[in-house]
């Protein structure tokens, strides 16, 4: 057959480039994680870090102090794991939402997940609940908010996608008002600070218990989005065209929304609100690897993970008083993004 002769080279150039970038991102992510394990005010040198990790599987002679081990396994490791997981989830949820809503300005909290979570967390803080219960409240309210948005939009008439986004914005503002009211009535010396701090987002509270809580949900959600990644391409063409190409757009969109909501809620509930990652990482990845979701989804996962980890390293190392990461993501990310879109040469 004639086509074969000129297909092979053309395909392999594009595919090899994409594969190369994905491999590069994977190596970069692992490298960032390895370096982060050694960074910190309390010194742990590379040899000790590796020895402590190996010791979990193969018992070694102890060359590290118990204090180092405690810090390593209870503070630093969980924090780094959580940064990777949350960065991955927010970026991939953002990418998925941007595709299903055919709107590049959409971020993972478009359906109210963040504001709902913030309201839940504010309630829990007002009630004086523990950090773990605050997370549980935030998670439950995030899901409740998105469910509310979907129920409202199912009853509304008109362009379904437009209605979903509008309902999301409205319900979000409702819960935002709720959070503002909670801040108004709360005790300004103590609880107000907690709520404000939660709204700015932070990975300080990371622990293995929290990771164990959110990991299964995040894994399932990410796996679903990864599996549907090519179908999201088709959704960006619009519902009618998708249907004529054999894809039930509405059903696919609901599955994507559920998966993306679950991972957004699991992220927000343990870290508070971290903006920016879900909006901009997918765009950075598009510049790097193209719009095809088959590549965009894995690229967003890895770039989101490594980006949030780097920013969190800055958050915990740059100054003695930790800077909330929600502020830093914008400080670091926005100028970098502006630089990328204004420079002339393509990546």
């Amino acid at each position: 057959m004639a086509p074969q002769t000129n297909i092979k080279p053309a395909l392999s150039v594009a595919a090899r480039r994409a594969r190369g970038i994905l491999l590069g991102l994977a190596i970069f992510t692992v490298a960032v994680a390895a370096i982060s394990l050694m960074l910190g005010r309390y010194p742990i040198n590379p040899g000790e870090a590796v020895a402590m990790l190996v010791n979990q599987v193969l018992p070694l002679d102890q060359t590290w102090t118990d204090q180092q081990a405690t810090l390593f396994f209870h503070v630093r490791l969980p924090r780094i794991l959580l940064a990777l997981m949350v960065g991955c989830c927010l970026a991939v949820a953002g990418a998925a939402y941007q595709g299903t809503f055919q709107n590049p300005l959409v971020s993972p909290d478009i359906l109210g997940a963040s504001q709902g979570a913030a309201f839940g967390a504010a309630m829990a803080i007002l009630l004086g609940l523990s950090s773990l219960l605050t997370s549980a409240f935030a998670f439950a309210f995030a899901l409740f908010t998105v469910l509310l948005v979907l129920l409202i939009s199912a009853r509304a008439r008109g362009n379904h996608m437009m209605v979903v986004v509008l309902a999301g914005v409205m319900v979000s503002s409702l819960f935002q008002a709720g959070v503002s009211y909670a801040k108004l009535v709360t005790d300004p010396t103590d609880e107000l600070a907690d709520i404000t701090y939660w709204l700015m987002g932070s990975l300080t509270g990371a622990s293995m218990e929290k990771i164990a809580l959110v990991f299964p949900v995040m894994l399932i959600g990410c796996a679903v989005l990864f599996a549907l990644r090519w179908r999201i391409n088709i959704l960006t063409m619009g519902d009618d065209e998708a249907a004529t190409m054999g894809v039930n757009a509405r059903r696919t969109r609901i599955v994507v929304i559920i998966a993306a909501t679950l991972i957004t809620a699991s992220s927000v509930c343990v870290t508070g609100m971290i903006g920016w990652v879900g909006l901009v990482i997918p765009h950075l990845c598009r510049m790097l690897i193209g719009a095809d979701y088959r590549r965009l989804i894995p690229a967003s996962m890895m770039m989101g993970a490594s980006f949030l980890l780097i920013v969190d390293d800055i958050a915990r190392l740059a100054t003695t008083a930790e800077i909330p990461i929600g502020i830093l993501t914008a400080f670091v990310g926005a100028p970098f993004f502006l630089y990328l879109i204004t420079r002339k040469k393509k990546i």
Binding site: A2, P3, Q4, N6, I7, A10, L11, A14, G99, Q102, N103, P104, A227, L228, R229, W230, R231, N233, I234, T236, M237, D240, E241, A243, T244, M245, G246, V247, N248, R286, G290, A291, D292, R294
Partner: protein, 259 residues
């Protein structure tokens, strides 16, 4: 038969758009649908494509009742070529064509070498293989339309619906797109397209269908259907149909300009 429509009626709420349509389109036939704006052409297409499920009457595509088919099964029988439009994201042309190969994949599957091969073959068949790795949003409107035709081919359905495929194209691209469609029908596909230009129906159709106020006004050989009287009445302009090149071609001329 490629498409068989029996007693088809459709209404948006109380507004009746299609009324009691009956026609059948044989395999390998190129059909042009003529009619003024708002006469129900797009609604008819949406019904045949399964996008307006609440019609009354029956529609058979390649002998299969549309109502009995799932979204995926439908896509294997009939494909759709929309008017070229900007996509939100910058896909490569080959990725746009690949999108049509999903109806045969498992729910969580992604296209493999076989689908890729078919997408390239579709581009080749239209003669735009050189565009495969260009960015879809950066090629011309005419090229985009050809890409969407290639996409429909890659879907491997025997019947294709096109809604005003050339309305946004310049003269050269219009001719290129329409002769490409003509060629595909000769190769055995059934293609139904709507047009605003009766001259196109003469040049590029085996059968011409005329819709008027939601009813089938005429259906048959373009030379029988497109008469001075019918076009004048349909569009409310005085038109004379003239014959050129020993009646190989006919054209409509507005009389107000030649008197």
């Amino acid at each position: 038969m490629s498409i068989e429509v029996t007693n088809l009626s459709f209404a948006y709420g109380n507004r009746e758009v299609l009324r009691d349509l009956n026609f059948s389109i044989p395999d390998g036939c190129l059909v042009n649908v003529l009619g003024p704006n708002g006469v129900g052409k797009s609604t008819l297409f949406r019904c045949i494509l399964g996008l307006n499920p609440h019609y009354s009457g029956s529609i058979l595509v390649n002998g299969k009742d549309l109502r009995a088919l799932s979204v995926r099964q439908r896509a294997r029988e009939i494909s759709y070529i929309p008017q070229s439009h900007a996509s939100v994201y910058d896909y490569e042309v080959i990725d746009v064509v690949l999108m049509a190969t999903g109806s045969e994949l498992k729910l969580l599957g992604t296209p493999g070498p076989e689908q890729l091969q078919r997408a390239h073959a579709a581009l080749e068949r239209i003669g735009i293989e050189h565009l495969a790795h260009r960015t879809y949003t950066q090629i011309s409107g005419g090229e985009q339309q050809l890409v969407l035709i290639a996409r429909a081919l890659a879907q491997n359905a025997r019947t294709i619906i096109m809604d005003e495929p050339t309305s946004a194209l310049d003269y050269g691209n219009t001719v290129r797109v329409l002769s490409c469609v003509r060629q595909l029908a000769r190769e055995g596909l059934s293609i139904v397209q709507s047009t605003h230009n009766p001259d196109h129906a003469f040049l590029y159709s085996d059968q011409t269908m005329v819709l008027s106020e939601g009813r089938l006004r005429a259906f048959g050989d373009p030379k029988d259907v497109i008469t001075s009287e019918l076009i004048s009445e349909l569009y409310h302009v005085e038109v004379e149909v003239n014959s050129l090149y020993g009646d190989k071609v006919r054209v409509c001329v507005p009389l107000s300009e030649v008197d």
